[in-house]
């Protein structure tokens, strides 16, 4: 796993709903890399998250047992090279783990011409709690290339999850 740095930002939203409270869990500058040469069509990139939300919950005074719901709030991708997204048609984001069915969480298709950032449309139905109670999660990105290329591809992503916990 190649990452320059990862910042986990926690912001506990004071406005709570009934006995539940919402916590935002942000993964900043997550790196997805596919080593070239790459072929036209879908290319898979993975990022492994270990014990993802333990610190976040602990700082907010909660435990995993209190986790009620997890949903993807936003996912924004950027490229680190000058070519940008010109060679890519689409990006999808999925979550996978040992004991939970792989789930599609967001997509952008097509990526607008000349885009510097790709903001995914996120699923409103995908319930991700079962992933986050496990020790290891894979964030799986599929990027559709419009033609073969020799160079590697590298994306950076800011991914925000909304955790609902019971008080």
């Amino acid at each position: 796993m190649k990452i320059l740095f990862q910042i986990i930002a926690v912001s506990v939203m004071l406005a709570s709903c009934g006995s539940d409270q919402t916590i935002t869990y942000t993964l900043k500058d997550v790196e997805f890399t596919a080593e070239g040469p790459l072929f036209e069509g879908p290319n898979t990139m993975q990022y492994e998250l270990a014990n993802a939300i333990n610190d976040t919950l602990k700082k907010a005074g909660f435990t995993k047992d209190q986790l009620e719901k997890v949903q993807l709030k936003s996912a924004s991708f950027s490229t680190t090279d000058s070519v940008g997204f010109s060679a890519f048609n689409s990006i999808t984001l999925q979550l996978a783990a040992q004991n939970t069915p792989m789930t599609n969480a967001g997509v952008i298709n097509p990526i607008p011409a000349g885009a510097k950032n790709a903001e995914l449309t996120v699923s409103k139905e995908a319930e991700l709690t079962d992933f986050f109670i496990q020790d290891k999660i894979f964030l799986v990105t599929d990027a559709n290339l419009s033609k073969d290329q020799d160079a590697s591809a590298q994306f950076k992503a800011n991914i925000v999850f909304e955790l609902t916990v019971s008080k």
């Binding site: 898979t44 040992q98 298709n109 996120v122």
Partner: protein, 152 residues
């Protein structure tokens, strides 16, 4: 000394068995073609499980829109734009033993339905893909062929 030797031998045996099981499971990795020849599916490993995504479509464009096919039958409106090229229709398979991978599902993009699924490797280049609802006895089997032929 004798105990130490036994410990080393048993550890080595466990280690080699573990590697062997992993190699056995990885035999499914590759590019496969369903019997209808409409698609090609690349099986790969994520973590310890196996997944298959569409990498080629005989008819990549939707005749109604003229644009690349998308998962228009997805029940989640926000995901109906997911391209079928790249779509994982085989998900979450564990290598059981022998020639079987189970615990997974297969998705039919033509009707948006997901079925339980068991995969049996008949030989290195042939898979029986059995989709079913609930009980494996009531289902349908399709034969998939490996695209790049390996030795039998």
């Amino acid at each position: 000394m004798k105990n130490l030797l036994l410990l080393v031998l048993s550890t080595f045996t466990l280690f080699t068995n573990s590697i062997s099981a992993q190699d056995q499971g990885d035999r499914i990795i590759g590019i496969w073609e369903p019997s209808n020849g409409k698609a090609r599916v690349k099986v790969e490993k994520i973590g310890t499980r196996y997944y298959g995504k569409i990498v080629w479509l005989k008819e990549p464009n939707d005749p109604e829109t003229g644009k690349p096919k998308v998962d228009k039958n997805n029940s989640d409106a926000n995901l109906q734009n997911v391209p079928l090229k790249g779509y994982r229709l085989l998900k979450d398979f564990n290598f059981k033993s022998g020639n079987e991978w189970d615990g997974g599902t297969i998705y039919d993009p033509e009707n948006g339905s997901t079925y339980d699924c068991v995969i049996t490797m008949k030989d290195n280049n042939t898979l029986d893909i059995r989709g079913f609802i609930g009980i494996s006895a009531f289902g349908r089997t399709d034969v998939w062929k490996r695209l790049q032929t390996q030795k039998k």
